[in-house]
Amino acid sequence: MKVLRTDDSVLGRWWWTVDRFLLFAVLILCCIGAMLSFSATPAIAHHLKLGTYFLVNHQLVFLGLAVIVMIGISMQSPKNIRLLSVLLLAVTFVLLVGVLLYGDKIKGAARWIRLFGVSIQPSEFAKPAFAVVAAWLISTGRDNPEFKGMTAACVVYGLLVALLIKQPDFGMTMTVSVIFFAELFVAGLPFILVAVLSLIGSIGATLAYFTLPHVQVRVDKFLHPEAGDTYQVRTAFDAIKSGGLFGIGPGEGVIKNILPDAHTDFILAVAVEEFGLIPVLFLVFLFAAIVLRGFYLIFSKNKNLFTLLAVSGILTQFGMQALVNMASTLSMIPTKGMTLPFISYGGSSLLSTGFAMGVVLGLTRNTSTGRENK
């Protein structure tokens, strides 16, 4: 398809304004995710007594949907993005309440709800929607002193966190908090408040350690690997070591048969085992490139506070999730079940990340004015 610069259609304008580096980086990530789903999920599918390619098909369908959502969102105007985010957040709130009332309990927490025959994890969608809505509220508050944007954002944040803690889902609470913190930080939060919020965060983490047994177990395992069962991390390390520079070959890995969360939390170990260090270093580079390119775009070209905040929030969430996942696998932090965006198995996570990257691509589109395009 040849798109002329003079093409004034929606597609033409989109093609010439979207940041193609970012777009292709994300698409390559999606391809890698599709490839790895062939490696990581058949073993799990077999364990769950599903067809060999049941989870592969599932993942590929959602990957396709995620790309469609991403491109669709990236074509929207900032106004529409805000509108869609407000809608999405509203729906998410309803679903989160629904989860608390009717949700399926998985591993001790109610996080999923069945809707039209599909299991949905509403909290996944809360992340990008909240990032956009909070950015909008804060930036509007800045531009218009009569609107108490900061207060409104805090109220939305408080409600969301209350619903997440009720599930309980502390990982998601942490993610939403990091998004909110990143936006407050970029919005010019005084350093004294940054210090105070960091302190509150530390106190919260300490409190979690002493009040939540499973958090304590994981931290203790991390701090004293010789004392406890570090089976997952040890297995992951063995896989990484056996992979070497070029891996033992696609589909040849064994860790996926052993580790229960090989297709989600430990997918990086599967990747290193089968494809080797060099391709996976490229994967790490891709994540870094997406995050840094995104930040670079809002740093160099953007003249709009809302975009600055929304994109910062989403990129921080995206980057932090990747970092936490990889650091867990590499035993640099206590194991925390966080998905690797676009790579780990999971429909809700994929669609949510697609939405998030769509927002980033849409808001960073290069318009001549630097203003919001209509």
């Binding site: 509007t140 690997p225 995050v291 740093f299 590499l330 035993s331």
Partner: protein, 577 residues
């Protein structure tokens, strides 16, 4: 959808563009400032992410190429800690072959009251452990009892399979179990352990505290290869001659080490509950018997050692001996004549032996027999030891009867140890199951002189060359010995026609290395043996087979002498006195 956020209608959201005022207002300048500050902060975030992704990349390379920072040594330690520690040491033979070993097992039990779906659990278990019966399992699982054993002694493989079922109500208890890889081979020596792993018989009992205290295996003097040969041939002989029981003892003549000890019938210590009480009776060490003519060996040795007779002296076996109303008559007509000392042994003369015994006298006889270790329990490392039965009153008649093998009951092991003293130069060593350590000084007890021992070797060789031991004349191994066919007593009464035959032998007689005692209990009179059942026809051929097979196994070089004639060392010894 359009809703106002401002009373003044100046700014609308969501979606509407902020109209740029003609002149920058205070608010706009404020917005501009916060945008600049925001960009500075974005730079901070970028640096942070760059740093963190770099660290991840470095760590990935580090783990992949150099193994990272996980403590592999400590993990290995943790893994060995989870292994159930074995509390009982192995028992090995003199060559290090394992005779008894403890392995980790697991007992599977369950709290039946917690089982929600007993049918499914029972079905899964019956499939995984096929020796379990579904109905029995279901009954157990439905019993609501808090503690039910499903199966004991699961091997690790079975435990793994049960774990794989993923039924978390099923619980394991680690145990260890004693296994005897050689089965019944050395059952009477090894003995057995109870369910708690405590030794209850044999070496397991005798060395119980040592086995639980040490980690290194307990080594026995036994040679399992020789033991296997002896056991096989003895089993064959017992069946062939229709005997009800049999025993064999093979001793190192110079040290008293037990190289082989078999008592038949025996049992499989792995399957103790199938063993009958009679199977567990050790006829080689617990059973004490009147050995009959075998005892003439010791009688002759004592007489020679006391110099009561010379080897060339003739003893009259023609006239019966009459003592306190009982008379001892020579059973065979052809021997009712004056006999030389070797002839008394070769023809196994009762009257001749009785006369020698009376020459020795009760006091000296008792003293010598005590030094031969025949009057007290042998000092061997086994709990199963028989106490010899001595005559109530050591009268002249007892003395005469002991001279040809009655009135004194001893175990085959005692007889073998005493015969070792007869042939090895005259020194008695208590039989032992622990091997002689390198450099260990073995102190024995002198019973007869070296010279007497030499003469006795020649006489024993003559018995095999010309007497009842002829069928044990294995070419090259210079076998010597003495047979005995003792009448069996049941409840103190002699049973007509029933005998216990034995052959007490040593080889090679020019320098005896090993003593072999073989005994058959009640061999039948069969056609092959011309309806005879004395020792020469059954136990001697059996001993022949044993010696033929084990002498090469024991590393004895065949002797260069013509095996059908008396070798020079025999002639010298017989003509010396």
């Amino acid at each position: 959808m359009r809703f106002s956020l401002s009373k003044h209608g100046r700014y609308y959201c969501p979606g509407d563009e902020i109209p740029l005022p003609e002149r920058p207002s205070l608010a706009d300048r404020h917005a501009c400032a916060s945008l600049e500050q925001g960009k500075t902060r974005v730079l901070v975030a970028m640096s942070g992410f760059f740093l963190m992704f770099s660290v991840i990349g470095y760590r990935l390379v580090d783990v992949s190429l150099r193994g990272g920072r996980v403590e592999p040594v400590k993990i290995e330690k943790a893994e060995t800690q989870t292994d159930p520690s074995i509390n009982r040491a192995d028992i090995v033979d003199r060559n290090g072959i394992v005779l008894a070993s403890s392995l980790p097992f697991a007992d599977l039990h369950v709290d039946a009251s917690k089982i929600k779906d007993p049918e499914a659990v029972a079905a899964a278990l019956a499939e995984t452990l096929p020796d379990l019966n579904y109905k029995v399992l279901l009954k157990k699982l439905k019993s609501k009892r808090n503690f039910v054993y499903i199966k004991r002694n699961l091997i690790p493989r079975e435990q793994y399979e049960v774990n794989r079922l993923g039924i978390h109500e099923l619980e394991f208890e680690s145990t260890e179990r004693r296994l005897y890889p050689q089965g019944a081979l050395a059952s009477h020596i090894l003995g057995a352990t109870d369910v708690d792993g405590k030794g209850i018989a044999g070496v397991e009992k005798a060395f119980n505290s040592k086995l639980t205290a040490q980690k290194e295996p307990l080594r026995l003097s036994l040679d399992s290869g020789v033991q296997s040969t002896v056991r096989n041939i003895l089993t064959e002989g017992m069946t062939h001659y229709g005997a009800t029981g049999a025993s064999a003892v093979l001793l190192n003549a110079k040290t008293g080490e037990i190289v082989s000890l078999v008592s038949l019938p025996d049992f499989d210590p792995n399957n103790l509950n199938k063993a009958k009480t009679s199977d567990m009776f050790n006829s080689a060490t617990v059973g004490v018997y009147e050995l009959g003519s075998v005892m003439k060996l010791f009688n002759t040795a004592i007489a020679l050692d006391l110099k009561k007779v010379k080897i060339t002296d003739k003893i009259d076996a023609g006239k019966p001996i009459v003592l306190a109303g009982f008379s001892i008559t020579e059973p065979e007509e052809k021997n009712r004549r004056p006999l030389s000392i070797p002839e008394i042994m070769i023809h196994s003369s009762n009257v001749g032996s009785a006369r020698l015994a009376l020459d020795i006298g009760p006091e000296k006889q008792e003293e010598y027999l005590r030094r031969f270790g025949l009057l007290s329990m042998p000092n061997v490392e086994l709990p199963e030891r028989g106490r010899p039965i001595l005559p109530n009153r050591w009268s002249d008649m007892s003395t005469a009867y002991i001279g040809f093998g009655y009135s004194l009951s001893v175990s085959p092991l005692q007889a073998a140890a005493a015969a070792a003293a007869v042939v090895n130069g005259g020194v008695y060593h208590a039989p032992r199951l622990t091997p002689v350590a390198p450099g260990e000084e073995i102190i024995g007890r002198r019973v007869i002189s070296k010279k007497t021992s030499e003469t006795m070797r020649a006489i024993m060789r003559m018995v095999v060359l010309e007497g009842s031991g002829r069928r044990a004349n294995v070419p090259g191994y210079e076998v010597g010995g003495k047979t005995g066919s003792a009448r069996k007593t049941v409840n103190g009464q002699y049973v007509e026609g029933e005998v216990r035959t034995s052959f007490l032998s040593a080889f090679p007689m020019d320098n005896p290395q090993y003593v072999l005692m073989v005994m058959l209990d009640s061999p039948k009179k069969i056609k092959e043996t011309y309806n005879l059942n004395n020792a020469a026809w059954n136990v001697v051929p059996t001993a022949n087979k044993i010696i033929s097979a084990v002498a090469p196994q024991l590393g004895i070089a065949p002797r260069p002498y013509e095996y059908k004639q008396a070798a020079p060392y025999v002639k010298t010894a017989l003509n010396a006195q």
